[in-house]
């Protein structure tokens, strides 16, 4: 954490308006990212002021419910939002290059080569009309000036690396000839074909069965050690995050509510929403509980976010904030090294509630 100083200095120099004189200290640094969509019903603030850092060889798990802005964030990093119907602001620094203000041509050169994505549903994200091999070869040849036969050899090599049996034969199969787990492996092979330094996996195992999910998670873990890439793992499954991530970022209503090293996040979470998520899950590693502890209510509309803390209508401890919950947006503050949370309750109060009320019931 010694590298924190220059960043804060830069932030102070830049003042409230982020200007590009800031120098990034991490491999990937997202600062105050905002992605808004103007619609007929109003402005949808899908991501509203998100900041995080990620180093090479590390995995960041982004958790949240549907509509919390996880996927919009990942598409934003890859520059995949249509400029005509979205407004993106803030900064995304990838290895010293700023992406939000960069020319589309420049982002396109980085996309696929330096950063790649694994999508949730491999059946709909692969073209049914082309063979799996052709699709990997295409991706590889866009970024590398090689002949078709060299690219084909590379595709076979990649398919073998992700555990497809007899890759020299399967390379000529169409996506529908692959099973769900194999399609996801092929998708990973495609994403890794140019050795990207940043890999974004958006719910990579949600469509898969548990035994296949376990295989894919193992594969991602092994490949990360081999390639030393940075991984952003987007999921709603806290179990997957606990298995794979080094750090965790919990999103709610387009904002980050808690960010922490994974051990901290599970053993000493400091945000009522994180408590709620942990209480909602039936767990195999504990005695069977009598009742689950759900969060009341439903996730908010992003057009009309609740005032103050967006979580306050669903929070059981809102009454303890002396009304600040409804009026004031809580600041994301660092409470322990690397552990930040946005909540009005005092740290002591939260520790008390977690230790006395929540933890014993999990």
């Amino acid at each position: 954490m010694g590298e924190k100083m220059p960043r804060e200095e830069a932030g102070r120099l830049a003042g409230s308006e982020p200007v590009a004189i800031h120098t990034p200290t991490a491999f990937l640094e997202v600062r105050d990212l905002k992605i808004h969509f103007p619609t007929d019903d109003g402005l949808v603030k899908s991501v509203d002021g998100l900041s995080f850092k990620l180093e090479r060889g590390r995995t960041l798990g982004i958790v949240g419910e549907s509509g919390s802005g996880k996927s919009v964030t990942s598409l934003g990093i890859l520059g995949l939002h249509n400029k005509r119907n979205s407004k993106v602001s803030g900064e995304i620094w990838l290895d010293g290059t700023e992406l939000v203000g960069a020319a589309p041509e420049q982002v396109r050169r980085l996309r696929g080569r330096n950063m790649a994505m694994i999508f949730q549903d491999p059946l709909s994200s692969m073209h049914p009309f082309y063979t799996v091999g052709a699709q990997i070869i295409e991706a590889y040849r866009i970024h590398n000036d090689v002949s078709k036969s060299v690219a084909r050899k590379h595709a076979i090599d990649m398919l073998g690396r992700v555990g497809i049996p007899t890759p020299d034969k399967r390379v000529d199969d169409y996506p529908h000839q692959f099973s769900g787990g194999m399609r996801q492996r092929a998708m990973i092979a495609m994403a890794l074909s140019c050795d990207p330094e940043l890999l974004i996996a958006d719910e990579p195992t949600t469509a898969l069965d548990v035994t296949v999910q376990a295989q894919i998670l193992d594969l991602l873990r092994d490949l990360q050690q081999e390639f030393n890439s940075a991984i952003i793992m987007i999921t709603h499954d806290l179990g997957v995050v606990a298995e794979l991530s080094d750090d965790i970022l919990v999103m709610y209503g387009g904002r980050c509510v808690e960010q922490a090293p994974v051990e901290d996040a599970f053993h000493n979470p400091l945000h009522p929403y994180t408590w709620g998520l942990l209480g909602s899950m039936p767990r195999l590693d504990r005695e069977r509980s009598e009742r689950l502890l759900p969060i009341k209510g439903t996730p908010p509309s992003l057009i009309n976010l609740p005032s103050g803390c967006a979580f306050h209508p669903r929070c059981s401890y809102e009454g303890l904030t002396e009304g600040r919950g409804t009026t004031e947006v809580p600041e994301l503050r660092e409470l322990r090294p690397g552990h930040r949370a946005a909540c009005h309750l005092s740290l002591e109060r939260r520790r008390e509630i977690w230790n006395d009320e929540i933890k014993p019931k999990l």
Partner: protein, 351 residues
């Protein structure tokens, strides 16, 4: 009414015996049947009154097909389904209709299972009209009571499904299911389409309703932790067959079938401190196609304990511990003195 109650007291509410569903595959000019997908291939279980049976397995294991056959939405190829002692396998549509009050279903997808052009009142009220059930204070009152029962605002009577969130829609579906006070509810993946925090709400609701109304559930799900939470007994299916069936506590503490062991060890545990120390069983490959399942024990192609016998003899589902049935030649966690199906432990040394 009382006569059936007395009859039901002594026996299970639902009994399924050797149930099979084979979907024919046609090919060629004459559309001859060339093969069959054995979606469900000899499934036997029973569910007692007030109990919850969980059916778990991976996609393609036949759990949904089993549920649909219990509902008589699919015609079984063979086998029998008995409800309250009465064989309903071959009942005609007309004779089945009065029974539909007693057997209801909760569907997986709260988006496609509600008609977008009907109001909530008309959706939840439909069962009363279809079955011409008289309600004391009119259908509207009855519907509003149901909405309140499942935790929705009764004033939402005139709203349309698109005005509700996923969790609320699932509650609407549950209200419709409960309208005619069914005895048995088949719930097919009731929470898998919902967000975690909403999942917990619906799971709690299902449990409350069971306690309040004395319901019997068959819950079909792929999420082992949800099934464990909600079920009294759990049946694990693999390629159309039940490989293990036991009490909830038993099956999670002492899983005997290697497949159950593998399934349990594949579930990610939401605790980062266990990820290093945890012993994992990793299955290789995918579930084989039900069109051409491996012979004898279906699981032998992925099983690390498989021997020659597993490729030749299909292990029967045998009770190896009280209330714990397993179909395996070489089961794990055996109680002292017991042996696997067909005395497997002896065969190992011979082979």
């Amino acid at each position: 009414m009382t006569s059936t109650d007395i009859a039901a007291a002594g026996q299970p509410l639902l009994e399924v015996a050797d149930l099979r569903k084979h979907f024919p595959v046609h090919a060629g000019l004459l559309r001859r049947q060339v093969a069959a997908v054995k979606a469900v291939d000899g499934v036997t279980f029973s569910v007692n009154k007030g109990e919850t049976l969980g059916l778990v397995g991976e996609s393609g294991c036949g759990k949904t097909t089993t549920g649909r056959m219990i509902m008589r939405l699919l015609e079984p190829s063979s086998g029998s389904i008995r409800f309250e002692g009465q064989d309903i396998t071959k009942l005609s549509q007309a004779k089945m209709r009065p029974l539909r009050r007693d057997i209801q279903m909760i569907f997986h997808d709260p988006y496609s299972s509600l008609n977008p052009r009907k109001t909530v009142g008309s959706i939840v009220g439909a069962p009363f009209r279809l079955q011409s059930v008289a309600t004391e204070n009119g259908v509207k009152k009855a519907v509003q009571e149901l909405l309140e029962l499942v935790g929705l605002n009764p004033e939402h009577y005139n709203r349309y499904p698109h005005e509700f969130s996923g969790g609320q829609r699932q509650r609407i579906g549950i209200a419709r299911t409960l309208a005619l006070k069914p005895k048995l509810i088949v719930a097919d993946e009731p929470v898998s389409a919902l967000d975690v925090s909403i999942q917990a709400q619906v799971v709690n609701l299902l449990e409350d309703l069971q306690n309040e109304l004395g319901l019997t559930y068959v819950v079909i799900a792929h999420d082992l932790s949800v099934v464990r939470h909600i079920s009294d007994r759990v049946a694990v299916m693999y390629l159309g067959r039940i490989v293990e069936i036991a009490d909830q506590a038993d099956i999670y503490l002492r899983p005997m079938h290697p497949y159950t062991n593998a399934l349990l060890s594949a579930v990610p545990i939401p605790d980062p401190s266990v990820r290093k120390g945890r012993e994992r069983i990793r299955l290789s490959g995918d579930v084989p196609s039900p069109l051409n399942p491996p012979p004898a024990c279906h699981f032998h192609t992925r099983c690390w304990k498989a021997q020659a016998i597993c490729k030749e003899v299909q292990p029967p589902l045998a009770e190896l511990a009280p209330g714990h049935e397993v179909a395996c030649h070489f089961p794990e966690n055996l109680p002292v003195g017991a042996s696997g199906a067909s005395g497997g432990t002896v065969d190992v040394t011979k082979n």
